[in-house]
Amino acid sequence: MFDPVDDVIERIARHLRRPVHIDPALDGRVMREITELPTPGGATALGKAWRWLRRPHQVTLTPLGGLAAAAGLALVVLLSRMDPTAPAASRAESRAFQFVLVAPRATHISLVGDFNDWDATRTPMHRTGSEALWTAVVPLEPGRYHYAFFVDGSRWLADPSAPLARDEDYGAPSSVLTVGGGGS
C-alpha cells in the first residue's frame, strides 16, 4: 500500500544524501569572522578602534558627496594656513613711518623693534642730508609697537621723540609707537 509519509521522508533523505559543494574559501572567511568576534568580557574601545583601523573599508560617494569632501579638504588646507591668533592688523593697510635719530658720532645704527622681529640686521638706518641725521622708513599696520635704536652694535637708545615703553622688561630702554586704525 502507498504511504505518502514514507514517500516524503524518502525524498528528504535523498536530498540530504546529495554531496554539498563547499566554497574552498569558506574556512578562511569563517576564521576571519571568528577572530573579529568580541572577546569574552567585552573588547576595550581601544581594541575596537584598532580593529577598525586595520579593517579595509569601502567608501562610496555620490558626486555631490565627493564635492562636499573636496570642499572640506580645501577648508582644512585653508585653516591650516591661517593662524587664528595672528594680528587682525596684518590684514589691514599699512602706512610708511619715518624714524629719525640725531647721532653725529655713530658709525652704524639699526632700527630694531616688534615690526622686524628685533633683528638688528633687518633695518639699518642711513645717513640723510646732515651727517648727524639717521633715518629709516618702515611700513606699519595699526598697532602698538616697541622699538629702539641699536647704535654701533653695543648701545641701546630710546627714541627721544617718542614715549618711553613703560612695560620695559629687559633694562635697555625702548620707545613706543602707536599706529591708529583710521581717523588718525
Binding site: 569601502q58 562610496t60 582644512v76 591668533t85 628685533w118 616697541h146 615703553a165 612695560d167 581717523g183
Partner: protein
C-alpha cells in the same frame, strides 16, 4: 551611503583637521634664537596662549626682544608670562571681540596701572577701535600722569575724539610736562582744550594759544 561615509570618511577628515592644526603649532623658527633652556618654556607659554585664543605674536616679539637685548632666560620667560597674563586680563575687560592690536594696547594700559573697569568703560563709550585710546592712556601714565587722572581724561575724550585728537592730546600733555607743568594739571588742561576742539567743526578748529 551616509552611514558608510560617516563611519569612514568623517574620521579621516577629522584626522586631517587635527594634522593641519598640529602643523600650525609647529615651532616658530624665530624662537630658535632663544637658548635651549629658555625656548621650551616660552613655547609652552605661546602654545597656552594659542589654546586660549590670545594673540601669540606679542609674546613672540617680547621673547625676541629679550634675546636681542641679551636678557637672561629667566627674565625672558617672566616677561612673556607677565604679558600673557596681561593679555588675558585685557580680553576679559575688552570682550572676546577685541582685536589682537586692542588686546596688546589693553595689556600695556593694564601694566601701566589702569583698571579693567576703565578698559571696559572705554569699550562701552567708544565705537571705534580702542588701540589709540588705550595706548594714549598707557603713554600718559608712563609720562608721569597719575593713572586716575589719565583714565578720567581719556574716558572723557574717548566718546567723540578721533584717534588724531587723542594723539595730539597726549603730545600736548607731554609738552606741558616738559615745560614744568604738574602732570595731573597738564592732563586736565589738555583734556579741556581737546574737548572744546572736537566740539568745533573739524574744518574750522581753533589754534591752541601758544602752540604751533
Amino acid at each position: 551611503m551616509r552611514s558608510v561615509f560617516t563611519r569612514a570618511a568623517l574620521p579621516l577628515l577629522g584626522a586631517m583637521l587635527v594634522a593641519a592644526r598640529a602643523a600650525t603649532q609647529q615651532t616658530d623658527p624665530r624662537l630658535e634664537r632663544l637658548d635651549a633652556a629658555t625656548r621650551p618654556a616660552v613655547l609652552a607659554l605661546v602654545d597656552s596662549a594659542r589654546r586660549d585664543l590670545l594673540p601669540t605674536e606679542p609674546l613672540v616679539q617680547r621673547a625676541l626682544e629679550g634675546a636681542t637685548k641679551r636678557a637672561s632666560g629667566d627674565l625672558i620667560v617672566a616677561a612673556v608670562r607677565r604679558l600673557a597674563v596681561d593679555l588675558g586680563h585685557a580680553r576679559h575687560a575688552l570682550g572676546s571681540t577685541a582685536s589682537p592690536a586692542e588686546l596688546s594696547a589693553g595689556a600695556a594700559a593694564l601694566r601701566a596701572g589702569a583698571s579693567q573697569t576703565t578698559l571696559a568703560e572705554l569699550r562701552h563709550v567708544r565705537g571705534e577701535p580702542l588701540i589709540v585710546p588705550l595706548a594714549v592712556l598707557a603713554d600718559l601714565v608712563a609720562s608721569g600722569v597719575p593713572v586716575d587722572s589719565a583714565a578720567a581724561a581719556v574716558l572723557s575724550l574717548a566718546r567723540r575724539a578721533r584717534d588724531a585728537d587723542l594723539v595730539e592730546f597726549r603730545r600736548a600733555v607731554e609738552r606741558d610736562i616738559a615745560l614744568g607743568a604738574p602732570p595731573a594739571a597738564a592732563t586736565a588742561a589738555a583734556a579741556t582744550w581737546t574737548a572744546q576742539s572736537v566740539d568745533v567743526n573739524a574744518g574750522a578748529r581753533p589754534q591752541r594759544p601758544g602752540r604751533p
